[in-house]
Symmetry: C2
Subunit: 514 residues, 2 copies
């Protein structure tokens, strides 16, 4: 049917939506959520129909993605006709019914997701079904491969390619900023791509961005790696496993994360990683609560790695409190820089050399932790960090005091004496966010006392930094209400709780609660 | 945060959506699918955020539902701030995790659905979880009650209030057009609301609309009932259990229907029905394939009815072929009119008096079927139908030949001799739709031979009617490809296969595959 285009100058984030009025849709026998094929001057694409009750008849409303792709302008005539449901939808329905999907069926779903042939509702139904029915490892493997194949794949001419990933949940985890230069300074390639914070006060990309640009193209990344062996960039615009980004956006309001394994591992495969360490912070304050759960999850990562041709080891780390003292992009980058220069908190240093050490041992180097410590102590890691900062377009001479933190500051004090018994990760993160993090990079929290430390009454528990007075006030108020740090007796603290070098028994797929 | 309103003159079908640009949303710490509270001159409402990458900063885009509700005009300043997730979302998440929901939790979800506080994604996740986990009868009861409470409730001063419903799946089912006048002519109230076709070639509202208007207000319906005891109106705009309409729209692309029971029964409760017969067409060609499944489903209807204070009986009817000869709104209305005037096909008459007979017996009248037959034969039912047509605004003198059917006609003939062995309900419906039904009311199919009848070679199997030549041609072509009617030997035919007066044993909830 010939319809006139009405262009809606809004980008829908990739979604391909065509708006039809009630009457026109009904005449065409088309319902909301049906697909139409829109053709203009030989080009055509499939869009999902939204029906509007007051839209002009014989018009079709096109959001920018569609009009740009087709090159249609306002008032021009396009041909709109009913299109078949995408094949992927049949397989989603099969998954909802509880069927086990074949590799080619999963590939079709992922392709349809990336091509924007599936609606948010349909993808929401799919991830819900995956969550409830639980995925078999064959399906996880097929999903991971399909997610890699439908995106960009980086290729560096060197091997091995090392990488690390933390499943997150511990505020203040700036490990990457030290591990990458340690590994790179030993001559190994580590092309680290990171995300920005979604619900946390700082993602690695947010932290690194206070030291140098992170928004690099694929070509620029290759150049940085060629020069320095390492990089620390934002992965969001590189189209590495782009299906993952779409799934994550839909999982977010639902609060489920059935695609944790394929999500992480597809990104690693897309950068060509051959050896990967997965950090699983564990504890009642972390995402993974028990060592048993950590081990089950670790086995799944190892198994999936094997299927994708990646050597994976997992580090189960102490996740009962924030790492180091600081939370918030600039505060954390500053702390990481201090630490690589020889200062900084012991728990951060311990975690960094443990993680880097495992990576070294995975590629056959003995006493990996010692090697990592030496690279840190000798200044080689610092030198490498500065090279990477320069290669990414930052100032290689940057000093910790150059990293600008919020100039509004307030302290929260103990109300009584005692030992720090408990630091609530979620609550302390909330305070940092209330202060403005991650958007206001100078905002955050600095913990002056950590688990097991002894405090007198009226001692400073933590400092809150902000860029605006109003946010500082709000954060102070929230801190007083939430009381994220509680006092009492001593606890032991050791960063690396467990290390899982290979899978020994088969268990059911671990399903992480977000 | 103060933002300028940009009004998007599109109605989103009730959904409350606010568009923010990337930067503004990120500054406010708001993600896509988060809620914001929008306040303007003392009025405020909650909307769901969509993030657009090229939207002007410090603006908020408001679709018509939101701008109208708040009375905001282009360029006016509104206050936008992050709002809590709706409580219903927490319960949806609990359902996804497999928890059994309490009555008040279900009520909260349904209220949030009706208030448009939940996104399509979230509702899709909910119905998917309901489908996979299966609902317990307590939850079905709570859903039904919540759906009734969040909508309009009709109240007629007479009692009993009778009603019927068919779960559908059999093309050409014009039973309602005869049952309503039979019941009403006996002096009983039967306020029948019907839907339009969604995927079928005709819904009852589409059929009746060729005889008289069906788009009545609640007040007009009351008037019609007062005058005639019966009505046959479109229920879509009456706000009876409006949550159901939202659920149905989201279930449609997913191809699941976990809310079948609450959907049907909430509508019945909303019109104040005290006695309801549910028609369950059964057979390999129908939605319900076996008598066992029909019985399970029937028990659920009876159980739910009891919980809602409605006396329910179910009729398991022969669903292996279309009912009567005709499929398509006008063709069916014409056939119904003929039948009430004493002509028409035997299977239709038999089904009508069986269904009406059960309803009579449910309210204590003996020999219900005989009574129904007498009302039909005596012309009282016809007289009542004409009263209802007049009361709804139609011409009470309408004759079958006044019902306008498509003037383009083509016949499909047998290719060999034999008995009609098999009529594929779905395929014959597809042919009627290809001819233009339900939108083009004169389009459809008239079957000249039905199951078990003997045909010579080149005899007319069915006629296709259309309003346009192009659609007629397409339907003929489709009919030739699909061959919806196949020939061979004789089959017995009896309309009422089973009748289930009350629940005898408890079974698992029946889940219907759409």
């Amino acid at each position: 049917m010939k319809l006139k285009a009405r262009i809606l100058d809004i980008q829908t984030g990739g979604k391909r939506i065509a708006i039809l009025d009630d009457e026109t849709a009904s005449f065409m026998g088309i319902h909301s959520s049906d697909r139409v094929e829109i053709t203009f001057k030989g080009k055509s694409l499939v869009a999902i129909v939204n029906i509007a009750s007051n839209f002009p008849r014989s018009y079709v409303g096109l959001f920018q993605e569609v009009s740009t792709k087709l090159g249609v302008k306002k008032g021009e005539t396009v041909d709109v006709r009913g299109a078949e449901r995408p094949e992927g939808l049949e397989y989603i329905r099969a998954k909802v019914r509880g069927e086990r999907l074949q590799e080619n069926e999963i590939k079709t779903i992922v392709e349809d997701v990336v091509k924007q042939h599936l609606s948010d509702m349909e993808i929401a139904s799919f991830v819900t079904a995956l969550y409830i029915h639980e995925l078999k490892m064959d399906e996880i493997e097929a999903l991971s491969k399909a997610m890699v194949q439908t995106g960009n794949i980086l290729n560096f001419d060197k091997t091995p390619v090392l990488d690390k990933h933390s499943i997150g949940g511990v505020p203040g985890d700036k490990t990457t900023i030290l591990v990458v230069p340690i590994i790179a300074s030993a001559g190994f390639v580590i092309p680290k791509t990171s995300s920005r914070a979604v619900t946390s006060p700082a993602g690695t990309a947010d932290r690194v961005e206070t030291l140098c640009p992170v928004n690099l193209t694929v070509e620029e990344i290759k150049e940085v790696i060629k020069k320095t062996n390492g990089c620390m960039v934002w992965g969001g615009a590189l189209e590495l496993a782009p299906a993952d980004d779409i799934f994550i956006q839909i999982e977010y309001p639902l609060g489920i994360d059935p695609l944790l394994l394929p999500s992480i591992m597809s990104k690693k495969k897309s950068v060509g990683a051959t050896h990967v360490i997965i950090d699983i912070p564990t504890g009642i304050e972390a995402k993974v609560k028990t060592r048993g759960d950590a081990r089950t999850l670790a086995y799944d990562f190892i198994d999936l790695g094997k299927r994708l041709g990646i050597n994976v080891q997992c580090a189960v780390t102490f996740g009962e409190q924030p790492l180091g003292q600081t939370i918030g992009p600039a505060l954390e980058a500053k702390e990481a820089l201090s630490t690589i220069m020889g200062n900084g908190p012991a728990d951060l240093r311990e975690k960094v050399i443990s993680i880097a050490g495992v990576l070294f041992e995975m590629i056959g180097i003995k006493n990996g932790k010692e090697k990592a410590l030496n690279l840190l102590k000798s200044g080689k890691a610092e030198e490498k960090l500065r090279e990477i900062i320069e290669a990414q377009g930052g100032d290689p001479k940057i000093k910790p005091e150059d990293v600008k933190v919020g100039d509004k500051k307030e302290v929260i004090r103990t109300r009584e004496e005692g030992r720090i018994l408990w630091i609530n990760n979620k609550k302390i993160a909330q305070v940092a966010k209330e202060a403005g993090a991650p958007k206001e990079k100078g905002a955050g929290v600095k913990l002056m006392l950590k688990l097991g430390e002894y405090a007198r009454k009226d001692e400073v528990l933590f400092e809150i930094y902000a860029e605006r007075s109003s946010k500082l006030e709000a954060a102070v108020q929230l801190a007083k209400n939430l009381q994220p740090v509680r006092l009492s007796k001593k606890l032991e603290e050791r960063m690396l709780m467990d290390r899982i070098p290979k899978k020994t028994v088969s268990k059911k797929i671990f399903m992480l609660e977000r």
